[in-house]
Symmetry: C2
Subunit: 160 residues, 2 copies
């Protein structure tokens, strides 16, 4: 394995570890359990679950993997804070969307070469990328993995 | 910048972003504020602050950067859960230790070449590393960055 392949593989491994950990936490929950808040007055588990789905589907077009799946999550779980609108999403529906988006992402991630990981993502222009080559696909993967860990730490407060 | 240098640089950038974010959250806090819990019955901010210091000083010998600084954090903040022992640590003392360990780590991180990032860390034998080349220095950096984000998500519940 070349150094660049090993570096990219380590980043994908960190992603899948956290996705698996989140799936283990969220997927067994009932609709009632998903309505528990992580702390008094804070986000409910259902909001964090849908928020992660909404943020992760946006990675598909951002990295050029494919069209955004499930655009309905963005308005409710990303653009808006936790509120009554999230309650129309059932546990089974969230579980299915979670599986679909993470299967699609992993299929894309495992196809990228090291050079593709260091290429610009689709939200940065060629000119801006020339000024800041750190705005590459891998930076998106690392950022989203850390975002996932951030909310996983919060969700764990309700479930441990 | 070669692909492998860009990949390693993106990982170091994600680390420093989270370290800066944690410093901004923890360093202005008084001793009294550090005694607030992130949620009822959960860890106090002082424990999370010292826990991150204790986990991060261990990276120094693990990656061969240098000797472990401040070994006193391990027993109180890593081996044991939150309890009365943490209260002997003052805010000013935590701030100073935080600065020292992160300066030492960043000096080490910025010296590593891409090949050094993909070399084994010191807790894995050469034989085990041959079986699993993902147990490299970069995997440690990614893991510790995600660990930091996990607890940052919790600390934010007390401070936002």
């Amino acid at each position: 394995m070349t150094p660049e392949d090993a570096l990219a593989a380590a980043a994908v491994h960190a992603w899948t570890t956290h996705v698996d950990c989140a799936a283990k936490l969220f997927s067994p929950l009932t609709d009632a359990q998903l309505r528990e808040a992580v702390a008094p007055g804070r986000n409910r588990l259902i909001y964090l679950y849908g928020h992660l789905i909404g943020v992760h589907v946006a990675i598909l077009p951002l990295l050029g993997i494919g069209d955004r799946l499930h655009p309905e999550y963005d308005a409710v779980f990303v653009q808006e804070p936790d509120g009554p609108a999230v309650e129309s999403f059932a546990a089974a529906q969230l579980r299915q969307a979670w599986g679909e988006v993470h299967d699609a992402l992993l299929a894309g991630f495992t196809r990228f070469t090291a050079a593709e990981w260091t290429a610009r993502h689709n939200a940065v222009s060629e000119a801006d990328f020339a000024l800041n080559p750190l705005r590459n696909r891998l930076a998106v993967l690392l950022n989203r993995t850390n975002h996932l860990a951030y909310h996983l730490g919060q969700a764990a407060l309700a479930r441990t």
